[in-house]
Symmetry: none
Amino acid sequence: MTTRKTASTSGRASEPRQAKARTAPTRAGAHRPPAGRTERAAERRAAIVEAAMEEFIARGFAATRLDDVAKRAGVAKGTIYLHFKDKESMFEELIRTAIVPFVNRMTAPPMITGSVRDVVEAMARMFIHEVATTRRGDLVRLIVAEGPRFPAIADFYYREVVSRGLAALRALLELAVARGEIRQSKLMQFPQIVIAPAMIAVIWKSLFEHHAPLDAEAMLHTHLDLIFGERNAT
Amino acid sequence: MTTRKTASTSGRASEPRQAKARTAPTRAGAHRPPAGRTERAAERRAAIVEAAMEEFIARGFAATRLDDVAKRAGVAKGTIYLHFKDKESMFEELIRTAIVPFVNRMTAPPMITGSVRDVVEAMARMFIHEVATTRRGDLVRLIVAEGPRFPAIADFYYREVVSRGLAALRALLELAVARGEIRQSKLMQFPQIVIAPAMIAVIWKSLFEHHAPLDAEAMLHTHLDLIFGERNAT
Amino acid sequence: MTTRKTASTSGRASEPRQAKARTAPTRAGAHRPPAGRTERAAERRAAIVEAAMEEFIARGFAATRLDDVAKRAGVAKGTIYLHFKDKESMFEELIRTAIVPFVNRMTAPPMITGSVRDVVEAMARMFIHEVATTRRGDLVRLIVAEGPRFPAIADFYYREVVSRGLAALRALLELAVARGEIRQSKLMQFPQIVIAPAMIAVIWKSLFEHHAPLDAEAMLHTHLDLIFGERNAT
Amino acid sequence: MTTRKTASTSGRASEPRQAKARTAPTRAGAHRPPAGRTERAAERRAAIVEAAMEEFIARGFAATRLDDVAKRAGVAKGTIYLHFKDKESMFEELIRTAIVPFVNRMTAPPMITGSVRDVVEAMARMFIHEVATTRRGDLVRLIVAEGPRFPAIADFYYREVVSRGLAALRALLELAVARGEIRQSKLMQFPQIVIAPAMIAVIWKSLFEHHAPLDAEAMLHTHLDLIFGERNAT
DNA sequence: AATGAATGAGCCTTCATTCAT
DNA sequence: TATGAATGAAGGCTCATTCAT
């Protein structure tokens, strides 16, 4: 029995992305750009990206078959090669593509109006709802899993997400220390500590959730209490 | 099915020939001493296990070629099948085998003579030296990576390592709370928080160490200060 | 594209793409005419079937290498798997495919105008020319050879050929007995006796023809004389 | 699924031939010849021959594993090579060995005291009880199955069994014709006709017995009636 | 002589990639 | 541009044969 046997996601490779529902080809005078061919190509590409992500997450890089990706995306196998050079670069490009929008949101200026803790808490909540709970969480696990085989991915992830995220977090911690919200100043040197439970939550969801469900929100809250001191009023 | 199933060497291919009555190993020198048949079989198995672990860690399950494992172990391809039923069960058995000794050590009674923090700190140090720094750390990452495709592995790991480890940790935390070493009693509900930075250290070593080295020991120390309160004298 | 029936093309890989609407085959010349996609697929399949039959007959199931089949058919190894699930089902499907047309001809109403003997004699002649002398004869031997290892094949052969053939023969014998062409009425219970020499002829051709050629036609004629009584005028 | 899967004769690869139950090694003074080593070797060889025959009949040449043969014979795999050069020559030698005693019995002078029909009938009965019903029948099918791939076997079989058997039968037929027991003199030219139903019986037993049991004795009797004329008193 | 661990050529099967339509 | 049949390199697994014990 090989890996493939276990997984049979392909069964529900439905929703071919409806490439047929094309809006009247090239209605001149409309606001939209050329639309026609290019637009459909973009749709197809999106379908492939979506399908590939699904498959890569479910099986990992090596065990994913492009055949299944094509089927799930509702395109022919050859079409994939019109958009990507090969499996490997598709994988790398995919990860990048998926990460970018997340990075952008995170990079937005924090807008600190109240306490630092409030900001961090909001971030934690966002993380839980938009990462730990979603496909994006699996993406993180995928990066952990394939990183060593794809240095380019690991590099990119470090550069774009990890280092920037930690830098932002460090700035916040410095502020909190300066304001007296956090006592332990050494924490600034290890922003990873603040992130750690969130990462654990992501991994836990993937591997152990059905053994013992984890209340990620409560955990993160407890952890923030540890960092900022217990709150008087909840 | 054929004899093999019934007669099966396959069922659980472990313990190849039960190395019975080995006369004082003589495993000292590098030159090959006489060595009995069974003994050499054991050596071979060990070589295969070692080689396979190396390859699986480096490439993941699907991308590992048994050919390479054999080459690295210095045996013929067929020899692998004298010890393991197939690639998949080799993988599972390997993980189990590698984990067990670690579990046993961890299960040893903590022997609390001084403060709870001292115990936890000793554990953290042990973790760094025996896990984060070693092959065992990569093993943890391997489990995270392949877990979803090998439920048996994930189950085993949860049962033998995670649940037991967390239970032990919780007991320690309860004691610490009772003794007043820890203020925040809610921590007992999330022993994962205590472990989290250690896990992060492991993952960091695998993926980002060459981008930015991480002083795991200092990080864990800082984290413990967060939990137990900053120490007056370091 | 909406091929996605329910994945699994494998189930029964027969009839690859249903060669729909083929424009006048143009299979005359040796040089390759344009020919549609589906048409060429059908040709390829036919080539594989032909090659496989040849190899299976020459070597038996286990000793036949798909590599050789592919080579003989002039296709790549992988192409075989576009038409058949695996070696085993290829074998079974092959046998079935080869038998069916023969069965159909045999099932055609006998059209008894003259004596029963004339009908049986015509059948015997047909058997010699279309079975004993041809590849089909080897096919029968192949079934005898592999039958015990392929119950499905033996079952099919019994159901479609043996039982139907014997039933038809029995009907004929009954008629002959009723008309007084055959004296020994017990023969009706063992139509196998009528077939037996024909089978022997088939086997003889495969195994001993080069030791001692057998005049199958004369033998069958002699046998019919035995059954119907010697003819006055030959 | 490969051939092997289907067959599971191996399950009963029991009765290891009890190589251990050796009679007191070399009791001098006994009537037996040297006994000791040589004798045991002979026993072993016999066990191997027996086991191999069983396996070859059940699976055919190519699909038979020497491992199974050894297991069934209760010897180590290597032991087989002390008695036979390789799988192929083992197979050929086996067939020869198994055929010889049968040939010898058949060659014994017929001793015609009564009618020829009585002699032939006795032979038929013997054939049924000693061939059609037994392992020897499967042997015949095995020869039919593997003959084309083992010309040496086919040659041997033709020379030792077929040609001699047919010659003997022809002599008998000539006598019967001379005595007036058989009318149709042309039968002498095709002694195969006399044998044919017996062969059919053998094949039938292997392939179709569970579909429709065949009363071989009644069939042969009917066939003899056809040849010799119906008997007045049964 | 007997053993059975070890070997490695060989075979079935998969799947990324190509290319004629 | 899109397709999917065709390809063939690659990899898991088997098993006849060897040989040190």
